[in-house]
Symmetry: C2
Subunit: 156 residues, 2 copies
């Protein structure tokens, strides 16, 4: 069985993505990074950057499955901005008719470390171990996206 | 001076729109209605409906200015869903490079009735009066969108 899973950590200033390839029930790192938008540009332009860059990414990667973090009110001031960006992400994924799975932060932490309240460092170390990497993937949002992709693989 | 203002009341289940035409400092009703999406379809499809229908609307109407309601945490459970839809709305407006203005619900009520905590009925009556309509515009979300467009006109 072969499968390509793209993980997405939605955000407006920095949207993390990370993709893994599953071969013989073994995950391999394909790619990771962030889509950045500048705080000084207006919200419409920032959403357009996310729309265009994510279209390019999905068209190039052709994932079989997309895993995306569920949004809660855990960062109050920021939640509406992140939700607006997440709406654009869901739109792009729908335009490609991609199947999606969603996980809460606690589900991701639980899946990677066995502990739903694990800290960032513990999750990143688990990502590094699962993907046999030499160093922790950076920045944080990209590492989180890889954690989301790995969670989707675990849950299959 | 002639100007076409499109008002938008963002929503996921029902997105209200209403447009007015200003000629010689007098507003005339052009069009109003709602974009509806079914709760039983998945979120991606619903956002795609909003994206496609709003594209069609904006391409047909060619507004000079778009006025849109600002989103707050006033309806907690619903806010993330509405914000995701609002992100798609802002994306479409940016794709047409349309200038936008944003108003809070209190600013809209204040502009239409002189009272920031006015009820829905009072706002709808003010819309009906300003536009010289025979009956209150319906449904509520479309009437709200007209109120937003009128607020933008008042504030120019």
């Amino acid at each position: 069985m072969t499968q390509h899973i793209l993980g997405i950590d939605p955000g407006l200033a920095s949207l993390g993505f990370g993709s893994i390839h599953i071969t013989d029930n073994h995950p391999e790192l394909l790619d990771y990074g962030i889509i950045k938008t500048a705080a000084k540009t207006d919200i419409g332009q920032r959403l357009q950057t996310i729309y265009d860059d994510l279209h390019e990414l999905v068209a190039a990667q052709k994932p079989d499955l997309v895993a995306i973090e569920k949004l809660f009110f855990y960062r109050m001031g920021n939640t509406i901005l992140v939700a607006q960006a997440r709406g654009v992400v869901l739109l792009v994924l729908a335009q490609y008719q991609l199947p999606i799975v969603e996980f809460t932060p606690a589900q991701i932490k639980q899946a990677l470390t066995g502990y739903g309240a694990a800290d960032k460092q513990a999750v990143q170390e688990a990502v590094t171990r699962e993907l046999n990497l030499e160093v922790l993937p950076r920045p944080d949002d990209a590492a989180d996206a890889l954690a989301i992709a790995i969670t989707a693989w675990f849950q299959q």
